[in-house]
């Protein structure tokens, strides 16, 4: 059997197994972080080699998994997120017990995400989602003495369980209706259904509910702010930048390959959910006092933007969706890591704790500003480039008989304008407002590794913003590979 499509996952899984063994001898968090970084780096190298050699699509075992432009790009995104998160964690969890399990679980969660990106079969997709979910339940509960973390983990686990139950039931119905589980096979079968024509509706509802919980789409979003607030900040970065994107990738695969033939039946539902999600997310973010909650609601809103790509469903829209996932991973991951970095030097998680931050750490205030402005979509940053592609897709779309899709663009642009208010508020706190009187003005001593992680995100955001053509090309290749 040819395993070359699986090399990145195999490398990462081997490191995930090896790290607890290494941890038996050396419990130092920074050392374990370095070992995990080596694993992530090797896996990245494997994906890079694939792109470099230009092999085309490599299929594993008659089409359970495939390594092509689409899955390769997403593997890179997930690995980059894991890299940044692990780099920041070395210092963040220093001195805590079970550091080796922590890194092992992060790597396993990443393996699950990569399997989802590579899957061409509903069953493999489900297994990938579950590997990620189960690892992240444990990661959210990592601080055993922290009551907020445990509560967040309980909520995450219960909602995640409901999500997987709905997804699995939906998958079983799809299997029953079409008699096959590969996306392409389902895609060919649903177009010409005779026997169970109405049943496919039930299956669609089940899968939408299941994925909706996973991606935190309104009205299934209630758990997300609680979990993002309670989890350790580095893990929040991974949830927002990694596992939420995994859910969106799963939705891309399910709706745009398997269910494309009956698009007319579900595009309205997804479009309404997209508008609801971005509106509710942005409005709820307006009056948050905790920065993690604010960023969590902003994540919900961003997922709403990305749903536009599914509702429109053209290659151009999918390019925009993939591009926005790519940029959002860096923007949101970086923002949460800044929160984690500041928590290490005992700056709280309320937005008002960020008053006068520019005087205490210029670098952190500057990075946060760049990332937040990028999230709002201000040129010349990455968020602007991806939003341009994504929001113009319903207009440019060329979907005959679906002119109402333009309203998606209108809603998204209004929402972007609203979101600028709460992003700019944080910037105002950091630069304009004075420090509280009881806080010393001394410069903060920040850990270098975490600053490096933040710097990677900021450089990525500025770089993608200045040279978007190259990345748009990558995303277009990926979209083409998925829709082909």
């Amino acid at each position: 059997m040819d395993y070359s499509a699986l090399y990145p996952e195999i490398i990462l899984a081997l490191f995930a197994i090896a790290i607890p063994a290494v941890g038996m001898m050396l419990k130092d968090s920074k050392f374990l972080a370095a070992v995990s970084l080596a694993g992530v780096g090797l896996a990245m190298l494997a994906v890079f080699m694939y792109f470099y050699e230009g092999l085309g699509a490599v299929v594993f075992d008659n089409g359970l998994l495939v390594l092509d432009d689409f899955s390769g790009l997403f593997m890179m995104v997930f690995l980059a997120v894991a890299f940044v998160v692990i780099l920041a964690s070395g210092k963040f969890i220093e001195g805590e017990k079970h550091a080796s399990e922590y890194y092992s679980l992060i790597l396993l969660a990443t393996v699950g995400m990569m399997l989802v990106a590579a899957s061409t079969d509903l069953f493999v997709l489900y297994i990938g989602i579950e590997i990620t979910s189960i690892s992240s339940y444990a990661l959210v509960a990592f601080r055993k003495k922290d009551i907020k973390g445990t509560e967040a983990a309980t909520k995450y686990f219960i909602f995640g369980g409901i999500s997987s139950a709905f997804t699995l039931f939906g998958i079983s119905l799809v299997y029953g209706i079409t008699g096959t589980t590969s996306f392409e096979g389902i895609g060919a079968a649903v177009g010409s259904l005779v026997e169970f024509k109405e049943m496919i509706w039930l299956a669609l509802v089940m899968v939408i509910v299941g994925f909706g919980f996973k991606v935190a789409v309104v009205p299934f979003h209630a758990w997300a702010p609680d979990v993002y607030e309670g989890a350790p900040s580095t893990i929040t970065a991974m949830l927002a930048a990694g596992s939420k994107k995994m859910g969106l990738v799963a939705m891309f695969k399910f709706f745009l390959i398997a269910m494309l033939a009956i698009k007319a039946d579900w595009e309205m539902v997804i479009a309404i959910m997209a508008i609801l999600t971005m509106t509710v997310g942005n409005l709820a973010a307006l009056n948050q006092t905790s920065i993690k909650r604010m960023l969590a609601y902003s994540s919900i809103a961003q997922a709403g933007y990305i749903l536009i790509a599914i509702a429109v469903g053209t290659e151009f829209a999918l390019t925009g969706g993939i591009f926005h996932i790519l940029t959002h991973a860096f923007m949101k991951g970086g923002a949460f890591i800044i929160v984690a970095t500041l928590a290490v030097v005992a700056i709280g998680e309320r937005i008002s704790d960020y008053k006068g931050l520019a005087k205490r750490s210029n670098f952190m205030a500057f990075s946060m500003t760049i990332l937040l402005f990028s999230l709002a979509g201000i040129p010349p940053l990455a968020g602007f480039a991806s939003k341009v592609v994504l929001f113009s897709s319903p207009i440019q779309g060329g979907v005959a008989g679906a002119e109402w899709l333009i309203w998606l663009s209108v809603a998204a642009i209004i929402n972007s304008a609203i979101s600028l208010y709460y992003y700019a508020r944080v910037v105002k706190y950091m630069y304009v407002d004075e420090l509280d009187e009881d806080v010393p003005v001394a410069k903060l001593k920040l850990p270098k590794s975490m600053m490096a992680a933040v710097a990677i995100c900021v450089i990525a955001v500025i770089g993608i913003g200045l040279y978007p053509e190259y990345f748009i090309q990558l995303c277009q290749d990926a979209a083409r590979a998925l829709l082909a």
Binding site: S133, Y137, T154, F169, Y175, G176, G230
Partner: protein, 101 residues
């Protein structure tokens, strides 16, 4: 002897509905966990039924996989609930209210 497919589908949908009702109505987190398991098992029943209907082994193999995944999920879930019980002295879902806006 063949059991008609409809009978099994009625069984699995009722299992799923009972599970969903349990998730909504039960206050004890352990009971919620059990209800989620019911929903997962409903899907497994479906999978096996369709598998034998089509004469295709894939559904049954996947049902085995999904049982394994559910077991792993329960293990992690029970550990989290144990820890919750240790910290808060309760597993009542109504008392989990530290995090809200």
């Amino acid at each position: 002897m063949n059991i008609p497919l409809e009978y099994i589908l009625v069984l699995s949908s009722s299992l799923f509905i009972v599970g969903a009702a349990g998730v909504i109505l039960k206050k004890n987190a352990i009971m919620v966990l059990m209800s989620i398991e019911l929903m997962l098992n409903a899907a497994n029943v479906n999978m096996v039924a369709f598998s034998s209907y089509y004469g295709d082994a894939r559904g049954q193999v996947f049902a085995l996989f999904s049982i394994g995944i559910a077991a792993a999920e329960v293990a992690v879930g029970l550990a989290i609930l144990l820890n919750l019980n240790k910290l808060k002295k309760t597993v009542n879902v109504d008392d989990i209210n530290l995090l809200r806006w």
